[in-house]
Assembly symmetry: D4
Homo-oligomer: 148 residues x 8
């Protein structure tokens, strides 16, 4: 069974497009928590508030790392999605983390970010522009068939 981790941008429905498109192939999908507010505040919500924004964020980021690391470490394929907005350093961090572990990386990114992502692309086994292409890539990996 193929295990796929869907890293990166959390503001559009690209994960749903992929998991629905790949329905029925027996792929195991994992992802970070995609509820932005929960993801930002999880540390202090459970472990108590912090006056400093740095430690507020630190507690949350470490808690999220428990899920993220497990997701990447257990994946055969890590799909890293870069969107149009924000710094998205966590997506690039995940890509580097996956690369050092020897994971197969698929980058899903818009053409306008091509030059800025060249080091990330160089570590990937495929660079796609649409979720549909990712579905087709996974279909080929699992079933050996190409889109008609």
């Amino acid at each position: 069974m193929l295990s796929v981790y869907l890293s990166g941008e959390i503001h559009t429905d690209w994960r749903e497009q992929i998991t629905e498109g790949a329905d029925g192939m027996g792929i195991l999908f994992n992802a970070p928590v995609t509820d932005h507010a929960a993801s930002d505040d999880c540390g202090v919500a459970i472990l108590g508030g912090e006056e400093s924004k740095f430690w507020h964020d630190h507690k949350g980021a470490k808690l999220n790392a428990i899920r993220t690391r497990k997701g990447i470490e257990e994946a055969d394929v890590v799909v890293v999605r870069f969107g149009d907005k924000y710094k998205q350093w966590n997506a690039a961090f995940d890509a580097g983390y996956a690369a050092a572990l020897g994971k197969s990386i698929i980058v899903l990114s818009p053409p306008e970010h091509q030059h800025a992502l060249k080091e990330v692309h160089a570590a990937a086994l495929a660079v796609a522009e649409t979720p549909q292409q990712v579905v087709e890539l996974l279909t080929y990996v699992v079933e050996g068939t190409l889109p008609k």
Copy 2:
């Protein structure tokens, strides 16, 4: 002997500030190629031109990866610098790569990037704002002494 890799931003003299500040402590410093034009064009300059910008960049990014990977893999400490401009996804990628290898990470970043870098900061053993702080951190690690 401590081996330190200086990753990230290549437009200011932060590397010189650190290597000069740490002079005499026997630290081995490595870094990527910091000549921006050479770094962008190295692939095609040696192996032949490409019509597509994607493959132009790809050849260069892969060639640079030979040096970058060796630098990170041989380092005890990876200092990752985020500056004011550009996407800097390669810096975040290096941080993720270093984290997965269990390297000690020092992030050097301005306060305004704090929230966007929270996942990278969470993987670091120290977050500094100035090259002088990095010098003091390395001095403490090597010599066990604090600034007066």
Copy 3:
């Protein structure tokens, strides 16, 4: 499925509080043998008595290590509980063992031990004070939801 090892103090019901609180989430929990007398005497009870207390303890500690190592090595998350009494060096040893293997560590410890545990806390992704917080942390990791 998340695998969690519950290391440390064996004199209160904190393990039951966590496993009951996390009931229904499909988490696999493991733990050392928590029968204090059996744990102390297991080696000599099976393999024959020793005149020296050192070797009596040695045989038992090695036998317990078979279970403990497997528990930590197979865990995604290692929860290490420090209580109010005893030296608890085995708990700190487990934390170090888990840290070197790159496991996600949650420390469960009372505030009065904060300074003495600072190196252990520094290796953890979360520091909790109550079993209920650990339940909430695990709930967030598995289900992505926060307590209301």
Copy 4:
């Protein structure tokens, strides 16, 4: 060349006794920062103060970890010293860390801690009571000769 890391208690001169006793055998010794005040305050002294004692300690413990991890990871032998006072959980943590990395461990501990240290002793290749014994152990490992 044998590389030895001297972990644990920092209030007596046991490190000096060992390094002086082993003088001339070409052993490379490393150790944590043993200046207690510097070790406690290093994080805030360099990176800025914290109101919370937890984060004050956290910044320091992480900075110390840069040196400690390198010392353990590069060592062939890790000597872990337990003294008469304090919790010394960092010593037990180092022992666990070293054990998971497959390092040869020598524990240096007083007889009264025997039972409480049984798990740590079980992971060690030798348990000594005096620095002189450690010197003799290292002499035997390096030169193959026994004390007369």
Copy 5:
């Protein structure tokens, strides 16, 4: 359960002979995509055409690598088949990849390639000439019985 990856030549029915011959032993077989045309064109079919033959092939080879790497990394035994025609460098590459990962290698090759394959044979635990022999080898490994 034994996991076996069937690498190499894709123009004869040797894989079918082995999987049918080993039917009922509970072995999990994996293999690369054996549809030659799909394998050659998969990259551009999904991700868009390339003018250069090098990049056309490159995109396809990288996509195939996602499946191939997973297949080898999860295998207990890698069977590498060399046929009569073509360069078959990918088969030898897979053998080297499997060898470095410590996999048990069975080479299936005709006698006339003996000298040219000596380095590959030297890394194998068995060198067979027929698929039937591979079936018998796997039967022995799983069930401990020899052919009558």
Copy 6:
């Protein structure tokens, strides 16, 4: 679930005693092929005869290694049995192989071999003299209970 590999002597029923004694605990047992004649001749029986006894044995030993390595690598616990006769270097080899992989080792050996086995015993977590003791050790590891 605990996975146990039963290595060594193949002329008495010690494996049956252990697997029957541990019945109902859900332990997964593996072992080498214990049919002595098949084990000796498997290589030439399948792959063709050899004039030289060395290569006759070599082919068989390599084929057996496919099963042995998988058995040891997948085991949590490796039980190594030394009997009264023969050189039994393969048993000691398996013990060394298991030790280097960090497996928990239980040695099952008669008292008269104590001195000759001291290096093997030193790498073990338990040294038993009877299969019944091994059953009790495994029972304690899995269920945490001692014999009455």
Copy 7:
């Protein structure tokens, strides 16, 4: 210092062209034994003759593997040269071996082999056609300068 292993074809002077071209950069070069006759016969010349060509070659290939494995395992960069003649499966095997170890690979191959080498090229960080290009690649990696 960069360590480079020069694998593959042994009938032209490409190794000399590279080592001479890279003279003065402090690169450590290693290579297999390039005396074809010695390489073929080394096993039997030292350990005694074999009637079977298979075992003659086997003994030699295993002896050569001692040098080859060390060369690849210690290298930062593995250059794999494919020439015009012979099967060259050992070169492809070395490339696979290097890839699995995460080494940086440079392939040196003529254009006519492009399609047959696509899987090997896909694992490489650079594909060169001339030794001079390899010299320029290594110069860039070490010194960061491009040819004028």
Copy 8:
């Protein structure tokens, strides 16, 4: 530089024959303590006597393991010598330990032990009968030349 560990039999001068024969090739040789009495009694001589022979031997074997493990782990080549007498299980244990670490193994053994050593031989890259052959093997590995 080649690093060679000389394991096994300690009653003849085979180590001297090899180190003298290989003089001038820059090989780094290591070995266990070969003073039989010191090796047997080292544990109790330094750490205090034991009434039980088992623990007497145990303390010594563990102390010797500090040197032995380092020697094997740092070696490129492990030569394992089996002599005419004794059980020599420690030699076979070292061979298994070296095999699991992927070391190149040379076995030095008399013909009469061929069948009993078949599993050890199967893990070796060369099987020699005389120290002179080992010298010639090492000469070939280092210098690429054969005996005349």
